[in-house]
């Protein structure tokens, strides 16, 4: 049987073998393999749970090996051999496993079962003896919320033991396989989009206009940390510079000031980068300064484009002379709260790492500026990007150790 699906905008043509049938389709690049088999081919036995590689419900066979179909883009599988749970009807090992699952009550609601069977089949083919520890380790990437795994483990071990008793040897099926990611084949022709602009990409950071969200004076931050740095200039000069909002922003990679509606208010934002994550936060901040004590507080709030992630934060700064060296010491006490998708990253330590890199670049720029050099507006040199954080805290903010974001048990490439 051969299926040809209708053409779609921006789609890439790919030809796959799915459960033995040739499927040629125009596939949108962002469609992952699980959605492709479910939505386009109506093979709904593949289940989708977390969609970030943790739960294992979507596990299928790609070139004969288990893979996460939620982390594999269908258009990138041109030339691949795909087998879903429907394709394992006549598979001898899968048949034995189905019988054993039934016998051992290895399923209840059945949601995890298709992925579980694919993972179990792989274990049966790779383990030469029913080693419970290895079976349990092997099933750790497939979450089952009903059974407590007892029946599943018994079922898998029983099938391994039966095969061993019949003299069917495990292992070796993967020895001859091609190197590199399963399912990734060299395209038969150069497969390169004619034009980047054919795609409606995300809005550029500069063009985003999130409405300023109000600053809440009573806010109490979820996370706090402290940064200190030293500047080789007198404290009065440093404190004076801190009073010039635009000068401060110019020293801070990624920060921009749109306007100053009042002497103590700023509307502006911050472009942030953490690894491949880029976000632009826009919002407003309120500034308080105590001339006598040479301290200040910047309280801000902001949101990214579309308002999906929001942040609120404060920086309290103190400028103190360092008598012994004749320099000035600056202490920043940062507190922030993050909401929305980026908050799922929840690794305060990563924020600190970024903040310390930001602080050192900020201190360098500040010093250059005090020395009379125009501060370079470092708009996005890749190494320092993550930086922006600090200010972001002042005003907006975001970011995060994204592992959490992928639930911490996320996979890695």
């Amino acid at each position: 049987m051969s299926v040809v699906l209708a053409s779609r905008p921006h789609a890439r043509r790919a030809r796959l073998t799915v459960n033995g049938d040739t499927v040629e389709a125009d596939i949108e690049p962002r469609t992952h393999l699980a959605d492709f088999v479910r939505d386009d081919l109506h093979l709904t036995g593949t289940h989708l749970g977390c969609e970030h590689g943790v739960c294992g419900a979507c596990t299928i066979l790609l070139d004969g090996e288990p893979a996460r179909s939620c982390l594999t883009f269908a258009a990138a599988c041109d030339g691949a051999d795909v087998v879903t749970i429907e394709g394992l009807d006549d598979d001898a090992v899968a048949a034995e496993l189905r019988a054993a699952f039934t016998r051992e009550h290895a399923l209840q609601c059945g949601f995890c079962t298709p992925g579980m069977l694919v993972a179990a089949r792989d274990l049966v083919l790779r383990l030469s003896e029913p080693d419970e520890r290895r079976v349990r380790l092997g099933l750790s990437g497939n979450l089952c919320r009903c059974t407590g795994y007892a029946g599943i483990v018994r079922a898998v071990m029983a099938v391994i033991a039966d095969r061993q008793a019949r003299g069917e040897t495990a292992g070796g099926h993967e020895a001859s396989r091609m190197l590199g990611p399963v399912g990734a084949h060299c395209p038969s022709v150069e497969d390169v989009p004619a034009s980047l602009h054919a795609v409606s990409g995300p809005e550029s950071a500069a063009g985003t206009k999130a409405p300023p969200i109000p600053v809440d004076g009573t806010f109490s931050p979820a996370h706090r940390f402290r940064q200190t740095f030293t500047v080789a200039f007198p404290p009065e000069d440093v404190f004076a510079l801190f009073g010039e909002v635009e000068a401060v922003a110019a020293c801070l990679p990624g920060a921009f000031v749109e306007h100053l509606p009042a002497p103590d208010r700023i509307v502006g934002g911050l472009r942030v980068q953490l690894g491949p994550i880029r976000a632009s936060f826009r919002g407003q901040a309120v500034i308080e300064r105590d001339e006598a004590a040479r301290t200040g507080r910047i309280l801000g709030a902001g949101a990214d484009a579309g308002g999906r992630s929001a942040t609120q934060g404060e920086i309290r700064y103190a400028v103190t002379p360092d008598e012994t060296t004749g320099t000035t010491s600056v202490t920043l006490d940062v507190g922030y709260t993050l909401k929305g998708p980026l908050a799922q990253f929840g690794r305060p330590g990563l924020v600190r790492d970024i903040a310390s890199r930001l602080t050192s670049s900020f201190a360098g720029n500040l010093e250059a500026r005090l020395a009379g050099a125009p501060a370079t507006r470092n708009d996005v040199p890749s190494g320092l990007n993550p930086a922006r954080l600090l200010f972001s805290l002042a005003f907006d903010r975001l970011m995060r150790g994204w592992r959490r974001l992928i639930g911490r048990d996320g996979p890695r490439s």
Binding site: G53, D78, G180
Partner: protein, 289 residues
């Protein structure tokens, strides 16, 4: 969630990939196995306009030797190393690390180069290959260069890759004869990102003990001469000398603020040393024999 719309390019060779990357600039993102980028795309934390899929490029799926170094293509997967389709640098060192990464379904697609380019501080390869003193080979349209892994990682999720550059291969030196390797990580659940991780290389011939602690909120911490952690007398292979106080101070200096975190990292480091130590030949006994 589903990814935002992006265009996909699947170049057949490295030169085309590099041209595309140079042209796309910040709008482009390299993808190999997609096991780190995939979740970020699905959660729309990353919204590139162009994804350049390099997984099919033959040149990046090869391995070879250069002197006593193993050269591993960037698109070699964890499972390739786990299964021994790529030679090891000695005694199953790489295979052992590979077999503990995430889950088999992830290892079948996740790549060595992708893991390093992503530079997650809790990634197994980052810590391991820093302990093994590996080098990263990167290429851009203009040039190729090699960067020691220690200076390649500049921060959490941050690397020394310049715009237009991608990782083509890893150069991993063979483990010296008689040297031992220890690797321990701590996860609440098998396969998840580690909360603590240490790799050590002990080379009695050269009297070296190099330790790396990863899974901290910064680039992995390299302790070049970890003998200091063991106190002055370390004879007879005993790890009883492991001094948690010294380690604690080192971690504190490295910015690990939480005392419980420091304790966990120190315990994992001690276990990594213990884990390597028992198989180390006892020098005095060997000399006597």
């Amino acid at each position: 969630m589903k990814p935002a719309r992006f265009a996909l390019a699947r170049p057949r060779d490295l030169e085309t990939a590099l041209s595309l990357l140079a042209e796309a600039g910040e709008a482009g993102k390299i993808m190999a196995g997609g096991q780190s980028l995939g979740p970020m795309l699905n959660l729309r934390l990353v919204e590139p306009e162009l994804v350049i899929d390099i997984a099919g490029i033959e040149e990046l799926r090869r391995f070879g030797h250069e002197g006593d170094r193993l050269v591993i293509g960037a698109c070699i997967t964890h499972a390739d190393i786990e299964d021994g389709r790529v030679p090891d640098i000695g005694d199953g060192v790489l295979a052992r690390v590979a077999s503990g990464i995430a889950y088999r379904a992830v290892r079948n697609r996740g790549t060595l180069g992708g893991s390093l380019a992503h530079a997650d501080p809790a990634a197994d390869w980052l810590t391991t290959l820093m302990a093994l003193d590996a080098m990263v080979e990167v290429a851009s349209k203009a040039a190729r260069r090699r960067v020691p892994l220690g200076s390649f990682v500049t921060g959490a999720l941050a690397t020394a890759l310049e715009p237009g550059e991608l990782i083509t291969a890893l150069h991993v030196p063979a483990i010296a004869k008689g040297a031992r390797f220890g690797f321990v990580k701590h996860c609440r659940k098998v396969g998840e990102f580690a909360h603590a991780m240490s790799a050590v290389v002990i080379d009695p011939e050269r009297d070296r003990l190099r330790a790396v602690t990863g899974a901290i909120d910064a680039p992995p911490l390299v302790i070049e001469d970890a003998h200091a952690l063991l106190g002055k007398t370390r004879s007879s292979g005993s790890v009883r000398r492991f001094d948690p106080g010294i380690v604690d101070a080192a971690f504190q200096t490295a910015g690990i603020e939480d005392a419980v975190d420091r304790h966990v990292h120190a315990t994992v480091l001690r276990r990594a040393i213990e884990n390597a130590w028992p198989v180390m030949p006892d020098r005095s006994r060997r000399q006597a024999a």
